[in-house]
Amino acid sequence: MSDTPRHRFEALVSALHAALLPGEQFTLGFSAEQSQFVRFNHAKVRQAGTVAQASAQLRLVREGRQAQQQVTLSDDAQLDRQRLDDALQQLRQTLPLLALDPYLSLNESAWHTHSQQQHPLPELDEVLALVEGEAGDLDLVGIYAAGPICRGFASSFGAFGWHQANSFNFDWSLFHANGQAVKANYAGQAWNAVDFTARLRQAREQLGFLGLAAITLKPGSYRAYLAPAAMDEIAGMLCWGGFSAQALATGNSALQRLYNGDATLSPQVSFAEQVSGSLSPAFSDEGSPRLDVSLIDHGQAHERLISARSAAEFALQSNGADRYESPCALSLAAGNLPNAEILERLGTGLYISNLWYLNYSDLPAARMTGLTRFATFWVENGQIQGPVSTMRFDDSLYNLLGSELEALTQEREMILSTSTYGQRSTGSSHLPGALVKGLTLTL
């Protein structure tokens, strides 16, 4: 890059300030990454490349009207200023065509926040050598994604936020010859070859259980332990509008009955949006500092995620949520079940490492369906008997985290999002495992 990303962003902000006409306000978001992507299949490199991308999201506001435009930035400072100016002109032409926006709400405070870490990332040669040395004889498939990520925000009111971090995310599966697989992940900001090797070896050890004869279950209700990665899929469903102020106000939230007071979850369940301490930027794409928000407290609905727009529309107080009102750092409070006692407490039932492809079968009832995937085992008297063939569940959240919830684990896992749609995600979740008395399998 010709300059640091922060300097590029600051230069664009300065140019915008200079170009602004009386009566105009702007917000400017910034997103950039330089990514190394390496796909593996059969422990070999299937596809490798680098991606350097940056974009700016300009919102122009004037006389109660607003419109926004995103432009890709080219790394040429002059060209980028021109692109931003073109966007400004287009937005200026658009605003007079619009009606007054009754829900326009701007954060006019001049807040400042800055976060930057530059832990060194591993050389690709080191990663490739570790994979070859530790898993060269295994059927490893997955992706290594690494590099710096930047997010910025500025407004004509003087707000300025900057977030920059080096990070990596190696997400892989090891396949047994019988088609069963175990999934593992090593992600974070500080790479440690010893830790990575330990994760690889741990996954290799788990492969041993997958060689046992597969067990096919009949539909019915089963005791089950849902590991944190499986819980992450369930939590992910709740992020589809579950806590959204707009969705809750318009009948589109799966947690409608909870927030209406018509249903409760187990007193063990406390969800929060826990931005502080997470890897996410401390500000939203709307231009507000993100706040930690208690969402469900001991089974009772508490706060909801409220964007500036929803606050205006539904007469609420914004709490820093972005426009989609989806958690970026969902946290579920720990319980009292030690990891070491999971199999013993489960006794006889299912140990589910991962779930897959969840969706709602009845959204207002918070009833969801999905499938077991990767290492799922049948356990009898606390002993693993063998892997379970893929099974579908269809059950309500009010059962799984309500009447049927027996315990949550003491230990939680910080799960960093592997999503790379459009750009590498900075989202995460912090979750325990859950022991449930009954999980309904249907197919």
Partner: protein, 480 residues
């Protein structure tokens, strides 16, 4: 169109590389998203995106570098990055591509009616506002929106063998949705959105049926709120095209993707219950099942002349008279597998590399009118418009839900039912196909939201289908 074409060609010609083959894929996209929700226009959103992917092949090993810096120096830098990476991974590479042919074709492809301008923002917002305002006043109608997304995409593929393949597409995605709620239950009814999109001009909005549809959609949402739940048990199932597209997508399209069968996607999108040895042998469905990869329906979302690796696209049967004959595999997968394939190597943009994707995947029409399909059912249910989808990683055990259900008894449509769901197993489901609708029931649909790949990619795919009837499927409703 292609206003930067000459400069791009000039810069490409000036690139220097020791690679045996290299290519540049330049993508320029503009997007406009308009929405009126509950009679208030959401802030219009626009985007402009432009960049290029440089791909090299060095001693049979390929690597890429994607950049938005399109200057001569920027492109040269990306090319050298890709070349260095290809050498770096050579010892670890899964594939040796020295035997893979390289295209030298030159061709331009344009969406239909691309030269005809679509109405401006004010007119589009006026149309959406009018539709929104025609939703009746009823306290149970708690949410509604009318939307229109328009994307213009120009892509130029150049390679060192002399190829120059240019595509210019315009995509329109109209949509309408209404939610009714009584405080405990909610039911939504929609038109378009992620279930409809086509290439073309403003005629797409007419073909979608958006204009004037809001009162009917709102009334249907209210009807659903009052309707009983879908009964449980085996019934003959009549799926309308707006659900058939999802059924085709999930339980034919994804399982036939060759990169899944070759294992590339096992860590994310999944594998397939179909094996390479099944092609030419597996009876996938009843004799009535004919499925094609068809890039020739010009308005369908993924109609194109060449895929993103430069393979010419043509209509091919994947399943003929129920027999599985051909996978969804691009040139690379064909080389790896030794099987035939199609031109389906596609990328979502300049910053992602092509992989095997669905494109237009269609079910060929049969010979029954909708009335004949209904009359042929003694104890069944009609389902329309997908709202929920879930299928295992081998694309076998599925459960799908629709917005709209209607009981069929003794050859007649009866009452409306809510929360219509059904489940089955792909490997068995298509063998229960008992009747296929004719051209009068055939609809060209598509979705902008097919996700797959590591790193992740979302592409537009087209699905055209008639209404179809399946024998004795396990159906059920919701809890509410």
């Amino acid at each position: 169109m292609f206003d930067s074409g000459a400069l791009l060609r000039q810069r490409f010609n000036a690139l220097r590389s020791k690679a045996e083959v290299f290519s540049l894929r330049h993508v320029k996209q503009s997007h406009q998203a308009l929405c009126v929700r509950r009679n208030v226009a959401e802030p219009p959103s626009f985007s402009q995106d432009e960049g290029a992917m440089l791909t090299v092949r060095v001693d049979g090993v390929e690597a890429y570098a994607a950049t938005a810096d399109l200057s001569q120096a920027g492109l040269q830098r990306a090319l050298e990055q890709a070349e260095a990476l290809a050498r770096q991974i050579a010892r670890h590479s899964l594939l040796d591509l020295r035997g893979q042919a390289v295209t030298s074709a030159r061709h331009d492809h344009l969406s239909p009616n691309l030269d005809q301008a679509v109405p401006g923002i004010a007119d589009c917002l006026g149309l959406l506002a009018s539709e929104s305002a025609s939703v009746p006043r009823d306290s149970r109608l708690v949410d509604w929106l009318a939307s229109l997304d328009i994307s213009l995409v120009e892509q130029t593929y150049l390679n060192s063998a002399g190829a120059e393949l240019r595509h210019a597409h315009r995509f329109l995605f109209p949509g309408l949705s209404v939610t009714a709620s009584d405080g405990k239950d909610s039911q939504s009814r929609s038109l378009g959105l992620s279930n409809f999109g086509q290439q073309g001009g403003f005629e797409v909005i007419h073909r979608c049926g958006l204009i004037g549809a809001a009162p009917r959609i709102a009334d249907q949402a209210l009807q659903l709120l009052l309707a009983p739940n879908t009964p449980s048990g085996p019934r003959d199932l009549l799926l309308m095209p707006d659900q058939m597209m999802l059924q085709i997508h999930e339980s034919i399209g994804h399982p036939l993707e060759m990169d899944r069968i070759l294992g590339d996607e096992r860590n994310y999108a999944g594998t397939s219950f179909v094996k390479a040895s099944d092609f030419g042998h597996l009876r996938y469905g009843s004799d009535l099942l004919n499925v094609t990869f068809d890039p020739t329906l010009e308005q369908e979302l993924a109609s194109y002349s060449y895929d993103d690796d430069g393979t010419p696209a043509s209509k091919q049967f994947l399943i003929r008279d129920g027999l599985l004959v051909r996978p969804l595999g691009g040139a690379l997968s064909q080389l790896r597998s030794g099987l035939g394939g199609v031109a389906n190597s596609r990328a979502c943009g300049w910053n992602r590399a092509p992989i095997d994707r669905m494109a237009n995947l269609n079910l060929e029409p049969g010979d029954r009118t909708l009335q004949q399909l209904i009359e042929g059912i003694e104890h069944g249910i009609l389902m329309s418009n997908n709202r929920s989808w879930s299928i295992d990683d081998a694309r076998n055990k599925f459960q799908f839900g629709c917005e709209w259900g209607q009981v069929i008894e003794d050859g007649e449509l009866k009452g409306i039912v809510k929360n219509p769901n059904y489940r089955g197993i792909s490997a068995q489901f298509w063998r229960n196909l008992m009747a296929v609708g004719d051209h009068s029931t055939f609809e060209v649909l598509g979705t902008p939201n097919c996700g797959k790949g590591e790193p992740n990619q979302v592409v537009r795919v087209g699905h055209a289908s008639p209404a179809c009837v399946f024998r004795q499927i396990d159906v059920f409703g919701g809890d509410a």
